[in-house]
Amino acid sequence: MAATSFPGAVKGLVSAKARLSEPLRGGSRSLLVLYPRRGGMALVASATPLELSEKVAESIKNAEETCAGDAASGECAAAWDEVEELSAAASHARDKLKANSDPLDNYCNDNPETDECRTYDD
């Protein structure tokens, strides 16, 4: 499922915050976010940013190769440690994307006193 925009949306409109990932293969899940955009709605897949995702996949392959040689070596541990570090970074990036996806939320975080953002706790 590639990123699509509904008829009426201005073609080529890409938000700086939305990351368009390549067609997702079966088995990987991602969050679909509906974006209000001038002229219509855009459906964007909010998955891990592409470069990070690739880095994770690469590091896993690398770790498997390194450990095929000597599973108890320091190099093997370091390789899997790198996988862990990148997976954690990918997870944080996903959370960040999710957190940044609503423009109103972002505006209100910075300007909580404006009329649109006031909350009333009774």
């Binding site: 088995g27 990987s28 891990t48 896993i60 770790a63 093997c76 541990a77 440690d81 790198e82 997870s91």
Partner: protein, 398 residues
């Protein structure tokens, strides 16, 4: 600790304090009192500068963005955010009162360096403890530092960022209590101990969406890091003032989803300014199931335990919760039966939990105990402030 020195000659208290400039910029992060008076032949100079309170948090889950940190900074008020205008990949979080720094910034080897040497990030050889000690000490003494940044995305060490001494400094990472000098600087320390089964379940949830990962790769990653983890990270828990241990539930046989958890809050006895929480009767052993006639709970219910224990040859008190909260009234019911919570008003724990009901762990012991530890740290901080005020008032009378 406030340091007061009395000299017999008129003497101006000179401390090299770049942070003093921050005071004039309007950041009320530091207070600096300089009382200089001379009466007759005896001159007394009192310097009561507020030293930063330092909290250490040992956790394996990456830095700064963790749920624990967000709950902690929320208890103190204000949201913690990355420093504005700086490196976007900075790991530091700053709020009005608190600064959270990530100890990964003290890596001496970047990702390439570690690969070459064949060491993991858990290995002390990959970390510069001298620099960590120097800088934490400097911040504690009120001196701003240029702290390196470790970029988790690129795996490189980026140019340093300026850290101004805050009221409360939290150092979070893999080795806050590893080096004894750093350990001595900590006013309070916490260790987050996730058991292997729960770690596995959580990592599956985190990584299965990731292309390239499989059950085997996740398992292999945990296994490969285990030797270094057990050798260098795990032993730190004996030094912690509070340990939050997360285990699989005992209420559901063969549960492997990690959704219902058994969480133990292990509190060291005899720690200065820290009074462990207790259930009903301090020092006794209590087993408590709140669900019954007054409170209806859904499956699998909630079970509490409280009692004194020994942990690595330390006297500790343990409060344990197994199960999960489904409703607001379960939470407030439990809160009303716990003692020594250091809340400022009835229901504060529940309110904090509700405020962050979207955070992971908000319906079980992890959220509950993290919130309670946050309140205990707030109490500790306020005690320190009160002690300093009393000390400088007493000294000023001299």
């Amino acid at each position: 600790m406030a340091s007061c020195t009395i000299h017999t000659a008129p003497y101006s208290c000179s401390i090299s304090r770049p942070a003093a400039k921050a005071f004039s910029l309007g950041f009320h992060q530091r207070h600096q009192q300089l009382i200089f008076f001379s009466s007759g032949r005896r001159s007394a100079v009192v310097c009561s500068a507020e030293k930063t309170v330092v909290i250490g948090l040992a956790a394996d889950s990456g830095c700064g963005k963790s749920t624990f940190m967000r709950r902690l900074t929320s208890v103190f008020g204000g949201a913690a955010e990355p420093p504005r205008g700086g490196n976007p990949d900075s790991n530091t979080l700053i709020s009005d009162t608190t600064t959270v720094i990530c100890l990964d910034d003290y890596h001496s080897l970047d990702r390439t360096g570690r690969k070459e040497k064949g060491v993991t990030a858990l290995d002390p050889r990959a970390n510069d403890f001298d620099l960590m000690y120097e800088q934490v000490k400097a911040i504690k003494d009120g001196v701003a530092v240029e702290k390196p940044i470790y970029n988790h995305v690129t795996g490189l060490l980026d140019p340093p960022e300026l850290i101004k001494p805050p009221k409360i400094l939290v150092i979070e990472g893999l080795h806050p209590m590893y080096d004894s000098r750093v350990r001595d600087l900590l006013d309070f320390s916490i260790y987050l101990d996730i058991s292997n089964e729960v770690k596995f379940a959580w990592k599956i949830q985190r990584d299965m969406a990731e292309r390239g990962h499989s059950l085997e790769s996740i398992k292999a990653s945990i296994e490969a890091r285990k030797p270094d983890f057990d050798a260098y990270i795990d032993p730190q828990k004996q030094y912690a003032d509070a340990v939050i241990e997360v285990l699989p539930t005992q209420l559901i046989p063969d549960d492997d989803e990690g959704k219902v958890l058994r969480v133990r809050l292990i509190m060291k006895e005899g720690v200065k300014r820290f009074a462990p929480i207790y259930l009903f009767d301090e020092g006794s052993t209590i087993s408590w199931i709140p669900c019954g006639r007054k409170l209806t709970c859904s499956y699998p219910g909630i079970k509490f335990f409280y009692g004194p224990e020994t942990y690595f040859s330390n006297e500790v008190s343990v409060v344990e919760m197994d199960g999960k909260f489904d409703r607001l009234d379960e939470l407030i019911y439990v809160e009303s039966h716990l003692s020594n919570l250091s809340t400022k008003f009835y229901g504060e724990v529940t309110q904090q939990m509700l405020k962050h009901s979207d955070f992971p762990g908000s319906n079980n012991g992890t959220g509950l105990f993290q919130t309670i530890v946050g309140l205990k740290i707030r109490d500790l901080y306020e005690q320190i402030v009160a002690e300093r005020a009393a000390a400088s008032a007493a000294a000023a009378k001299v």
